[in-house]
Symmetry: C2
């Protein structure tokens, strides 16, 4: 019953934490579906996938303003709402032309994202052996609602709002290990993004890459393959669970 031994950290794994947007849930399909319903309700002509991509494209720049100290910490829920208003304006739609509740409701799309089809089965298997949870830039309330909606069986949900940081700040990865009272090398980050894994490894965590080749749609060109010797690479969460529980 030995746990997975991380080649890079030299430690037995105790907790497996997951990037969420893109890795666990399919934000593009989920957000586009809700944008489509919003457009229909308000009689708007817009391309839901194009607008979903634009909304997501504002994600990193809006967090960078916090990471760089240009503004104080604000939770991702709020950044998402600000970014929604910005992309509506770019589309020639005045945010003030919509009821506040309608925009809040649409913003809640990020709490109602569908899990990739392999996610629940893989997580249930991993949960029997490891502590599992998100390690996401999402705030706690967002992640709790996402988990309830998508049936994600997390052992714990701690959003980075509790640490008031955004990945890839090293404090995000180290803080997660710290509140689990584990050595960073006993904690694995699973992500579909090589950059996130690089920052996790630099902070001393174990790493696993699971590609999500259509996260950005059919023409995706990035993160199609592992770009380093991550501790584990698997095509989906079911195979990842097999790899991490092989000795069972």
């Amino acid at each position: 019953m030995a746990a997975f031994l991380s080649p890079s950290t030299g430690r037995q794994l105790k907790a497996v934490l997951f990037d969420t947007f893109g890795t666990v849930v399919d934000w593009r399909s989920g957000v586009a579906a809700e944008l489509g319903r919003f457009a229909e309700k308000h009689g708007l002509a817009l391309d839901p996938f194009d607008l979903a991509d634009k909304w997501r494209a504002e994600y990193q720049p809006s967090m960078e303003a916090v990471r760089s100290g240009q503004r104080g910490y604000v939770p991702l829920d709020q950044l998402h709402l600000e970014n929604l208003k910005r992309i509506l304006e770019w589309s020639g739609l005045s945010p003030s032309g919509f009821a506040g509740e309608d925009l809040e409701e649409l913003n809640g799309a990020w709490q109602r994202l569908p899990a990739w089809p392999d996610v629940r089965a893989g997580l249930h298997q991993l949960r029997g052996r490891y502590v599992i949870g998100p390690l996401s830039n999402g705030n706690t309330a967002l992640l709790v609602n996402m988990a309830k909606n998508a049936g994600l069986p997390w052992d714990l949900v701690v959003g980075l709002d509790l640490l008031r940081v955004y990945k890839p700040d090293p404090a995000a990865y180290l803080g997660a290990a710290s509140f689990l009272r584990l050595h960073p090398g006993e904690v694995m980050l699973v992500a579909a993004h090589n950059g996130d894994l690089g920052a996790a490894r630099a902070a001393g965590l174990a790493t696993a890459f699971v590609p999500r080749a259509t996260e950005h749609g059919p023409g995706q060109t990035t993160d199609l393959a592992p770009e380093s010797n991550w501790d584990a690479v698997a095509p989906d969460f079911i195979q990842l669970a097999r790899t991490l529980t092989l000795s069972d």
Copy 2:
């Protein structure tokens, strides 16, 4: 499908959080059982229930040293270990006479406490309607392990180590509402302790009392009945879940 309306806060309930030690889990039986095994292993003559009571009696004074600012924040795991060493000394046993791992293992008793028999059924019903989680002085790692061991289906587990406070500091109750992005009045604390509920109410939370008449053993004289007009009073979690989901 209206949620429970709290008479005291005038708000619809959205999250139900639980005191854990005593309210969710039977610390006295659990700790005494592990003390009994420890005594047997080391050939010690001691009364496991008496020692469990003494260990628990150190709980409030040790937190008070943090609350009063006499010392900086340390997680409950560490206070428990310090308190264990103290009660062993009082029993004429030198802590240094035991391997560090043996004391750590015994200290882990607080992560392996049995749930009261009505807990899981009640929580599963409540989880269909509300966000549920502990609001406990336990640190996150302790609470995550407790939940895994006892099968507690929490939506989120955030220990007060993330806020670096101990109840009944108002920041504990307000912080929990804040990271859920809820108004305090939309959050209920369930506890077997009138004092905890009083502090929760003072911070603006809804309150429910569930007595645990044998938490302190057969001769218990405290917290046998509600001492204020709490929003709900129920004999166990199953009845509590009925009260809070009556309109389903």
